[in-house]
């Protein structure tokens, strides 16, 4: 039986982990490679790096980081932030990423998803959707870190990119991100029901029950969290045990 994935996400800027990672005796809490290695050892099912200050000038730093992480970890690595073209996808895959995530560029031009999926396969193309509630049961895509409204309906856009060949959707609720109030379950449910590809729930995890709800209520194939793991509130093992006790198939 396929297991539900638990994915810690690391925000990275200029090759360093933003805010640090506070657990398991890391020699250097700001080194993404060390954090990745620790999460691998702790039983994370996959890792996500998000380059939050992606610019042309610092791409080399990210490629180097991805390359060193791929050498240290034997679990899948997804990388996002500043990905604009099939050439960016190729560079990250060659550096050692297993999956690459589009965000604003896919909103501006959904065909970039098709061009990339045709060339590299859907299995490595994620589309990250940042959505904000605009009315009950209606969510709009926001880009540029949630600051810029697009007028695009998040559920309709999910269908669009799935049809263009995206292999997975990373769905972040901008209403919930950073609040620790739990995933935006109606949003997760709406997108899961709209597409045939896996959906990763993101944004708002504060407790282990939130992870459970993302799966049991939202229907997500994978759950992503950042701060509850980085700050040592819970370990990966505790989270997976908790989800398994709630009846969710997990890789323990």
């Amino acid at each position: 039986m396929l297991k539900t994935r638990l994915i810690p996400c690391l925000d990275v800027a200029d090759g360093r982990v933003v805010k640090g990672v506070n657990f398991v005796n890391l020699r250097d809490a700001g080194d993404p490679v060390e954090a990745a290695r620790a999460y691998d050892a702790a039983g994370a099912d996959e890792l996500c790096f998000l380059d939050i200050h992606a610019t042309h000038e610092n791409r080399g730093t990210m490629y180097d980081l991805v390359s060193r992480t791929a050498e240290a970890c034997y679990i899948p690595l997804a990388v996002g932030g500043g990905v604009r073209s099939p050439e960016d996808v190729r560079a990250l895959l060659l550096a050692g990423a297993d999956k690459v995530s589009f965000n604003s560029a896919a909103v501006a031009d959904p065909d970039v998803v098709a061009r990339s999926a045709d060339r590299f396969g859907s299995q490595c193309i994620i589309v990250a959707i940042d959505a904000r509630t605009v009315a009950p049961g209606r969510w709009e895509i926001f880009t540029h870190g949630g600051r810029r409204a697009t007028g695009i309906d998040a559920v309709a856009f999910a269908r669009t990119v799935a049809a263009r060949g995206a292999g997975e959707i990373l769905l972040t609720s901008m209403d919930r991100d950073g609040t620790k109030a739990g995933y935006n379950i109606p949003l997760v449910r709406a997108v899961v029901d709209a597409v045939d590809i896996p959906v990763i729930a993101s944004g708002g995890v504060g407790t282990l029950d939130h992870l459970v709800e993302g799966v049991t209520l939202g229907g997500a194939a994978a759950v992503l969290a950042a701060s509850i793991f980085h700050f040592g509130t819970f370990t990966i093992g505790e989270a997976k045990q908790h989800m398994a006790r709630a009846g969710i198939p997990m890789r323990l």
Partner: protein, 213 residues
């Protein structure tokens, strides 16, 4: 002694190379793994690994596009009988034919066809992506130390439907049975990514490197 990972431009070989290098070093054969698309390297290899990401026809076309590469692989596998491991699409290419996008001939070394996954439960998504637990169908030297219940990382939308169940070494359940590991003579193939499957994957790589069919 050299293991050649065939680099025919179909996917990311970084992780595979690191995993094979690590297990070769642990077996006392550091430096024996090469990534190459040169037919002369394949001709000298005593083990071959054929990876592959993407679509079946694209991988097959890429394999055929390197002059002399496929004949060198065929010679190594069928005449010299070197141990061969296919990974993901590299495993699917062992089939008689693939039906992704269009009908495409495979290498035909393990009879069967590669068809789209159609889970009996419509709530199950395709691609089949993530960690699934292996059910071992028959013992094999490459699977030494791997028991039913071990998890491996899968990401694929098509699967290998074997003509002869005797060629199935392991499967997983995903709204029906999905072929996970195939084997015949000096050939094995894994649908999952051993280089992304932590200890289970590394152990299978070690089993392959130690295998003397």
């Amino acid at each position: 002694m050299s293991t050649v990972i065939v680099d025919y431009g179909a996917g990311n070989l970084h992780s595979a190379r690191k995993a094979f290098e690590r297990m070769a070093a642990e077996a006392g054969r550091a430096g024996s793994v090469r990534v190459s698309a040169r037919p002369e390297d394949v001709a000298r290899a005593d083990r071959l690994v054929l990876p592959g990401d993407g679509a079946f026809p694209a991988c097959r076309d890429a394999l055929l596009s390197v002059p002399g590469l496929l004949p060198a692989i065929v010679e190594a596998v069928t005449r010299r009988a070197v141990p061969f491991m296919g990974i993901c699409i590299g495993m699917q290419l062992l089939a008689s034919r693939g039906l992704e996008h269009r009908e495409t001939a495979g290498l035909g070394w393990i009879p069967g066809e590669v068809v789209r996954i159609a889970p009996s439960d419509p709530r199950l998504k395709v691609p089949h992506m993530g960690w699934n637990d292996l059910v071992i169908d028959r013992p094999h030297p490459v699977l030494a130390g791997i028991a039913t219940g071990a998890h491996a990382y899968f990401v694929h939308s098509f699967h290998f439907r074997l003509a002869d169940p005797a060629h199935r070494l392991a499967h997983v359940d995903y709204g029906g049975e999905i072929t996970a590991i195939v084997g015949r003579d000096n050939l094995v193939g894994v649908q999952f990514h051993p280089e992304k499957s932590q200890a289970t994957g590394l152990r299978i790589i070690a089993g392959f490197l130690a295998w003397r069919p």
